[in-house]
Symmetry: C2
Subunit: 528 residues, 2 copies
Amino acid sequence: MTATLWGTPDEAKPLSPSIKKLLGKLLNASAENVAHPLEDEIQIQPSQINPDDLADLKKIVGDQFVTTEKRHRLRRSRGKSYPDLLDMRSGKELDSPDAVVAPGTEQEVLEILKLCSKKKIAVVPFGGGTSVVGGVNPLRGKFSALISLDLLRFNQLEDVDSLSMEATLGAGLSGPHAEILLENYGMQLGHYPQSFPYASIGGYAATRSSGQSSAGYGRFDEMVRGLTIVTPQGINHVGHNAPKSAAGPDLRGLFLGSEGVFGIITKVRVQVHKIPECKRYEAFSFKDFHSGVAAIRQAVQTGTGPTVIRLSDEMESSVNLTSTDSIGESDSKQKGCLCLTMYEGTSEHASSRHEETRNLLLSLGGKSLGENPVRQWEQGRFGAPVLRDGLLDNGAVCETLETATDWSNVISLKKAVTKAIGDRLANTGTPVLIMCHVSHIYDGGCSLYFTIIAGQSEDNPEEQWWNTKKAVCRAIVANGGTISHHHAVGADHREYLPHEIGDTNISLLRAIKNHLDPVGILNPAKLI
Amino acid sequence: MTATLWGTPDEAKPLSPSIKKLLGKLLNASAENVAHPLEDEIQIQPSQINPDDLADLKKIVGDQFVTTEKRHRLRRSRGKSYPDLLDMRSGKELDSPDAVVAPGTEQEVLEILKLCSKKKIAVVPFGGGTSVVGGVNPLRGKFSALISLDLLRFNQLEDVDSLSMEATLGAGLSGPHAEILLENYGMQLGHYPQSFPYASIGGYAATRSSGQSSAGYGRFDEMVRGLTIVTPQGINHVGHNAPKSAAGPDLRGLFLGSEGVFGIITKVRVQVHKIPECKRYEAFSFKDFHSGVAAIRQAVQTGTGPTVIRLSDEMESSVNLTSTDSIGESDSKQKGCLCLTMYEGTSEHASSRHEETRNLLLSLGGKSLGENPVRQWEQGRFGAPVLRDGLLDNGAVCETLETATDWSNVISLKKAVTKAIGDRLANTGTPVLIMCHVSHIYDGGCSLYFTIIAGQSEDNPEEQWWNTKKAVCRAIVANGGTISHHHAVGADHREYLPHEIGDTNISLLRAIKNHLDPVGILNPAKLI
């Protein structure tokens, strides 16, 4: 992944004529005046790190694993949110880590954290760099220097227990790399977030990621059997001697979702699954979002057991967003709301889950659309972020955001968020396309994932977006949603967290932070 | 439940002739010299509480909700472990809480904790009093006075969300009381620990309880959507605005399993389930424990989805322990290991899960035994603790203990624990009956639950037991088991916790304790 694009330049996807037509028609967006500088043209701040400190870091990890080279620092300057991309295109000199350091062992990580505590250098852990909440941005807090601690050398499958179906993975492994290593044992992780091609195992754990097969395999935090985390206090193994235990509080929950502010996750022991013998697919259509939501709620509460279940609202269904090659091609057969389901496992397991789910969905008003829409989605499912660069090149705002809530609050939260986005962006004089889907379901509620496309403000696209984001976050908090279902808090959601969990819990998180990281070097100004 | 018996005196169950025969034959145990004092004959220490402090407590909750009466203090002096029962029968003067206080609101709980912090009075929260790890025992630590804070007035179903299938329950509600309240809404909790008739909702949460239907409905900690906990710092609501969230660490995990040392749980919001339309039952027999374990492992890893699945080892199967009315009646048809399964839900759901599970178990060597063994178990399943009093009356050691580990370690851990129990008790000159079952299964591993019956040492039954317990706990820790799968840590497992989670994590728990309870009044000498 390059600094300015999602994917490699080869993968870059110019928009199809149908999307350009849609953009032109809906948004009056155009490619005029849109900057897209090449990587070489982007300026970053000169490194501020003290040469003695740099030398000390080199002593710990070796010369070749510390760099102040621009391309490495640039790549670790931002994540992949829309405002991150705007920053990359802004022509401004970007703030950036002063050095990139890549330790190879937990002992080296510990020595780095001790040195940085002593020398007052902030440390931002870096995995895949796919944060969309400012999680990797180089916020220095009170520190004058900041390093990016890259986990790329923690890239081993450490061990496998084939009977217990558990494996220990290095935090720096990407999703695909981990799957390739596990495949040798007939195993898979079954975790497929949209960021799958680049995101790392450590990032999954640090942000409480959730993947597209969460209905079948659970969220990433639920897959974690244990983890190794290095804090300035030491190297710590978290997890019990069993998959489940009543031996005191579950401290895994404290480090999962800790976003680098409590320590650096170096290894994660996960529950893995057999590569499925069989996959089954069926799409359904519901007359509206409301009836689709009621149906998928009944499916999860009955326990019919699909591996994947997704419901798009009317707008998302109408633009066929599930297939990136044909977005915007109006599909006259497609009315109402599209619901995709997939079933994996042994042949008997997949077919019994399929049959029970299909019978229920049909009885609740779903109409079968056959296999194809699901297969199309499966093929193109990691492609959407690639399109975003093309949309920005064409003068569009393009961002996603997400929340979750109880079933009883889904419809009203969706309405409130849609209104907040629509009102705010309409104020900037652009039409707005707001699409939504549900892709993670629980007995008690579900996620809501919004995709927003609008015309970029020519004067100040940053301000246009941040005003929108603020309105949305306030709407989420005021209407009983969680500030993030699977993107995490980072810098962008930090001010809203106290509204969700309360000041007492923020104080508790701070007390824990003070115990583990008394100097406060770890990922300043993120999370809390 | 009375202080000295499990259940009411009406429920007390004299041992059947078959069990007496078994005891006589196996253990040479007899009722001679066995004391079973009536409640009135037990002496407890005089209340140590300062009259001014007592008056202050009465000011907070009202005169009628503070008592120093003996019967109330006695009832809250011990839990229900075998050594607790020995204490009750010992004839010694028992240490006891100095007063029992029953607040009715969170504000009152907070005022009590502030007063006790100021006056240096230890506080032990009390729910159902069914701890088998010394969790409610009146350990004073450095404090000269100790109160039992009884949550019995937190006995309301606070609210119900019928769409999200969530309900908020008072911490003092017993299992059956909670189920009766939920039944009005067509709902059930689906949590059936052995202590179900008496244990409380708050106790379930504070100890990370697990019930007999955990395969279907999950452990109690997995059912908790949020909780209200009162610490000396304030009234705190823990949980996000959604069933799942990525908004920072999951602080629920810190309070679930906190065993009263971080705060007093007053309310718990839980995921509930529809009362099942249909139940299906089938028992199987496996030729030995090893092949039975392999089969239930494959069932959970395939996801066949039984609501209940239990596997007894050869010894437990042979004494027919699953049916308390016929324990010890040798069943000549019953060879090998008994495996019970149950399936709940809609008719379609129960039958598809039944079919998939049965096909798999049969293919792995299981032989069907039909419905009856499961129905017998279901009827008698909460009866076993009642028998214990009868066994003690007849001069037997009778205790249960449990652990959990990965599938790859189950057989070797079982062997090590069995050896530790057997060696230790054999040293005291008694034959020993050790039975074991698996009743909680996960993708990665399972629980092991041991029932031990032996002859009581006439000289010093306390020493006989504690030596055995120590040997077992050491064996568990040394052989990669968790020190408790669902009984918690309490006082009895406290010294072994650092061996399982490490000193760094103990320090972290202490730092959290110091933040929330700086004077240290909450349940001293428990957990950490």
